[in-house]
Symmetry: C2
Subunit: 191 residues, 2 copies
Amino acid sequence: MNVDATDHSERPLRADARRNRERILAAARTVFARQGGDAQIDDVARAAGVGVGTVYRHFPHKDALIGELVSQKFRGFADNAERALEVEDPWEAFAGLLRTNAEFCAGDVGVQQALARGPAAWQYAAAELDRLRDTTRRLIERAQKAGVMRADFAVEDIPMLMCGLSSTMGVPGYDWRRHLEIMISGLRAAP
Amino acid sequence: MNVDATDHSERPLRADARRNRERILAAARTVFARQGGDAQIDDVARAAGVGVGTVYRHFPHKDALIGELVSQKFRGFADNAERALEVEDPWEAFAGLLRTNAEFCAGDVGVQQALARGPAAWQYAAAELDRLRDTTRRLIERAQKAGVMRADFAVEDIPMLMCGLSSTMGVPGYDWRRHLEIMISGLRAAP
DNA sequence: GACGATACGGAACCGTGGCTCCGGTTGTCA
DNA sequence: TGACAACCGGAGCCACGGTTCCGTATCGTC
């Protein structure tokens, strides 16, 4: 399966094509954020002021479109993680990252839901995911070495944790931040 | 919408009908457990050795079938909660219930996923849900009064917590029990 | 054992939504 | 400015899956 919809090997996109591509992505963000992962391509196209055909010209199928959004999102996560490495306090660096990324998630629950639905979209973000994982691992090791985090916690737990969290973000009127704080408290080293 | 598919007001089901109803439910449990919420009615029918028409005779639509499964599941949750009230130690009573019900969930992730998907199925379990909520509230108050649970935790957090947890149960090879223990630690009263 | 009520089976219907196709338009380069 | 390649739009195609319909089989009662 072609994982990269952008196809950098070709000559640069024509001006109108690039413009439309951006419009489509922006529209997709909005539409998925509002309607969740089962929003229709037609809706995205309409919101972008573009025909369905144009959407499919840029993204061979729905997953590719969602994949691109997911990828962008993970790029953000990974960037945040790298910034967190510069925070002095090992615990604050880690907990802060969780909070920041959670907040970053909450912006568009739609993408999160879409992501939770099918694993197909994940592969598009593989590279960013690796970067995020590596950085986070370092944050965790640092905190554990400092003795402020429970020793049995591992990077693999993060996706689960965020997955759980994000599934609660969709519930209207629920304060997911409390849920997050509960989990964060659970991560502190037992005395 | 008709919430009760069993329709107790009518005369008892004919012997073959009752038999088929049970078969369908059993098959549905298996099929949904294996394939998740988007398993098809046709699959359920085939697994039950029955025609689709028969499934629809007993359950007016897919949601009603899922609803019945969900309802049964919640009856189990609520029963467990009532048993937990008899445990002496307030903390163990509560934490134990979480563990028990989580384990009970893990049995058929399919139903959990189906449940997480659409809110339509929830209404079928409304009565059991109320019973579960009331009992759990008492467990929480007891633990908080004893000073062993953080004071800002509320019954409303439980569904979120379980929702998050169940969304990780579907991931093959992941130890969701660790996730649960992390959350449980997060609930203990801060010293 | 006969008869009416009840239940069964599964082919077919139909709405939905992803995706394609092609005639028309627009950007780019000489 | 002309010509061609790249791109656009959206009607329509098609597969999928929930639901219906009705001729046939089975149950329970007299």
